[in-house]
């Protein structure tokens, strides 16, 4: 989470505050949890942890991309839609 916070501050000027904050913090929470669990199981190769983090990052980015597309759709933006 600390790394996610630091990366947020670093990348915000280039990609936008919310576009960076939301995905990075979700990635930070999930990856941090999984790495913590992996470490308690015993020594885990750094390569495996890095791959885990990378796959989590890609998955979260894809989910948020499609979630954003759904929020931008005309149905979501209808004047009578309470959302």
């Amino acid at each position: 989470m600390g790394i996610a916070f630091f990366l947020t501050l670093l990348l915000m000027p280039f990609f936008g505050a919310f576009e960076v904050m939301i995905p990075l913090h979700i990635i930070g929470m999930i990856t941090g949890m999984m790495v913590g669990m992996a470490l308690t199981l015993g020594s885990t190769p750094t390569f495996c942890l890095t791959t885990l983090g990378g796959l989590t990052g890609i998955t979260v980015a894809i989910i948020i991309y499609f979630s954003n597309k759904k929020h931008l759709s005309p149905m979501r933006n209808s004047p009578t839609n309470p959302l």
Binding site: F18, M21, H71
Partner: protein, 178 residues
């Protein structure tokens, strides 16, 4: 403001008549305003207005810059046809009172156009916004977890349209004072 150029330009197409631009800041959004309008731009900070001045002077229309508090607008009732705000009501101390002031100076058939970031209804995004808000409030007074659409209704506006610009966090909102 290139990132938000398209949704802001669409929102600002609804600007007409005499316009009040609340919280002008450095005037980054002026480049997205339609031309030929008569705009009064206010901000609490003289330094911000000084930075906005070159953009205001480059605008193809008329922009008057004034120092003013959004909670105490020095205009008579029913003065403006349109009021515009961009990322202001995350920082205003009392947002509902500020919106009530806007309602007072807006004509009965006027429009409120707001481009704001708001609290998300998604619990995970909402949790992140609440966490980050602790830092942003302390550092610069910006709330990331305000329910601005609800505040607009509390101030007596009817929300005509909500257009999402990023997830359900960044929104273009159109409201009227009826």
């Amino acid at each position: 403001m290139k990132r938000w150029c398209a949704p802001q330009t669409r929102l600002f197409e609804n600007m007409n008549g005499k316009v009040l631009y609340v919280g002008a800041g450095t005037g980054q959004e002026i480049v997205n305003f339609p031309p030929g309008l008569n705009i009064t731009a206010i901000d609490l900070s003289l330094k911000m207005l000084e930075k906005a001045r070159p953009r205001a002077e480059a605008y193809n229309g008329k922009i008057n810059l004034e120092i003013m508090d959004a909670h105490r607008l020095a205009f008579p009732d029913n003065s403006f046809d349109t009021v515009v705000t961009v990322c202001v009501f995350c920082t205003v101390t009392d947002p509902v009172h500020g919106l009530e002031e806007i309602k007072r100076v807006l004509k009965p058939d006027g429009k409120l156009l707001m481009f704001e970031h708001v609290m998300s209804r998604n619990p995970l995004y909402g949790l992140i916004l609440k966490m980050m808000s602790l830092f942003t409030v302390a550092l610069e007074g910006t709330h990331l977890d305000r329910n601005t659409v609800s505040n607009i209704r509390k101030a007596g506006f009817a929300v005509e349209k909500e257009q999402n610009a990023y997830l359900d966090i960044v929104k273009a909102i159109t409201a009227n004072p009826n």
